[in-house]
Symmetry: C4
Subunit: 171 residues, 4 copies
């Protein structure tokens, strides 16, 4: 495989990517999401390579704010209807282009951004018509470590995965 360059920014959707799309509601108006600690290694690997990580999600919850803080996410954009616009503004701020961006999303609201970035991905649980339009479909579903698989694929395609794993005494 011809090596790809590492992206200069990794962006991700949340519901259906970091979760299995489950929206837990209770009787009092409280709400839950189920993240997967395995995905935290994906963030860690990006940080190890000095690639900033950003979240762009349509929902707006304290749940995601807390998760982003726990994992030291660089950019958090919630309540976003036009994800492509937000990504464009972020690129302008960083002095990069969308071709330098890798993005993983799973549904309708992600389509314009998935079409615009340099490397696009969708989790296994996304609709077939979403998976058909991206560069890479993960084998794992959202909430099962799809984000980590996405990051490892990026590193693998850039020939950087083994050295990162070696840093963690693996291989």
């Amino acid at each position: 495989m011809i090596q790809q360059l590492l992206p200069k920014l990794v962006l991700t959707d949340i519901d259906g990517v970091w979760t299995d799309a489950g929206m837990y509601y209770d009787q009092t108006g409280n709400e839950w999401k189920k993240f997967n600690t395995s995905d935290s290694a994906g963030v860690l690997f990006c940080k190890h390579l000095s690639i900033p990580v950003g979240i762009i999600t349509g929902e707006d919850t304290a749940i995601v704010a807390r998760r982003a803080e726990k994992l030291n996410i660089d950019f958090l954009h919630q309540g976003i209807q036009d994800k492509l616009k937000t990504a464009n503004e972020l690129c302008a701020r960083l002095g990069i282009s969308l071709a330098d961006v890798a993005y993983i999303g799973d549904d309708l609201g992600d389509v314009p951004l998935l079409k615009a970035v340099g490397f696009s991905a969708a989790p296994a649980n996304a609709q077939e018509y979403i998976r058909n339009m991206v560069h890479f479909s993960t084998q794992k579903s959202g909430g099962e470590g799809a984000f980590r698989e996405f990051v490892e694929e990026i590193l693998h395609r850039a020939g950087a995965l083994n050295s990162v794993l070696t840093h963690y005494q693996i291989g």
Copy 2:
């Protein structure tokens, strides 16, 4: 396949259809349901085609009321023992007949309504004897996007799916 007409009303059960039938109880009397954000596209597609969407469920919780409000559901009927009666009243109010209705349900309480509507469906996790009596069994189980699959099937059979997806820049 011979094209079907679009229904004039889409009705849906909740537990076992919008959820995997899971009833989460805690020590204090609070209760949870786990919805799937993927199903929200099913509602969106109906709205795009001006087909009203209604919920008819035997349970009566603030959980479902909140989910219905979030997704702008047109008709919400909770605590219903006789779903066929409720659907009949709704049809009378809208000046349509049950033949114009599509309904998805998964269990005993859904049987009379499933038998009466123009297009009936059940999710993959329903008992075999329920799935055997409906026009369409979804491949997805309840809580995995079965409602969205039901709506996409309706649109597909009416030849309307591709134009809806094109609206979202897909295909």
Copy 3:
């Protein structure tokens, strides 16, 4: 298949049978179990045939008490270490013998009772050495409707399932 008699009492374990053995803990000492509304039809079928249903569980929670009340369970025994003793006492009270009892359980604490009853069952997720000692292993795992499958099997073996389903306009 030679028809079996209907049992005079149906007993069931909870964790791993009515649930997938999941114990949800939070930071405050609260606790959750995830039931499956599909199992409620199992209780309904027993009631339709005037077979009382009892729960015998080692845990002692308000969670199970509330679920038992919701489903109108006839006998609720929580915090039980010796399930065989409890079942014997219940049989004495009802003037029946353990040979008249059907029981489903999934683990170590269920073994003595599983060995003693007239019809024993374990869900698909039980250890192989538990499933090897029972009359019937359900295809469904605990929390996926294993209790309902257990009840339907009992009715099927007694030639009573079709008439019950017919009551619900099925078949």
Copy 4:
């Protein structure tokens, strides 16, 4: 198979081993983990053979403290960044060596300890590069009873499983 000696200490990670790596967050800052009651038999079997059981985890929650108390875990070490150091200190205290220890872990933070113990294991859901470095990969995933399978494998390899099961009237 040549019999192995029983370990003198069984250590375990939590997230991804006793759970499916799911991190449930709500809107208020509360947090959940989902344990599996099936794993409690693994602890019971160790206690039956007088093998102490210890938890070493990077997270630090009241959730795990409560689970450890419920199951009478002998050693609880939370918020640990260097698991190998903690295990070494524990061994020194007990007058044993790491060769006498069995450990199950699933991810990056577990690697140094997995490499150092006498018997190492990882659950089915661990990354392939983790499973490739351990003595034993469980067939079950974390949260599905992987810890119990790990303990039963240890007992099986030492020829002690059947006598333990016989104690519970199995086999």
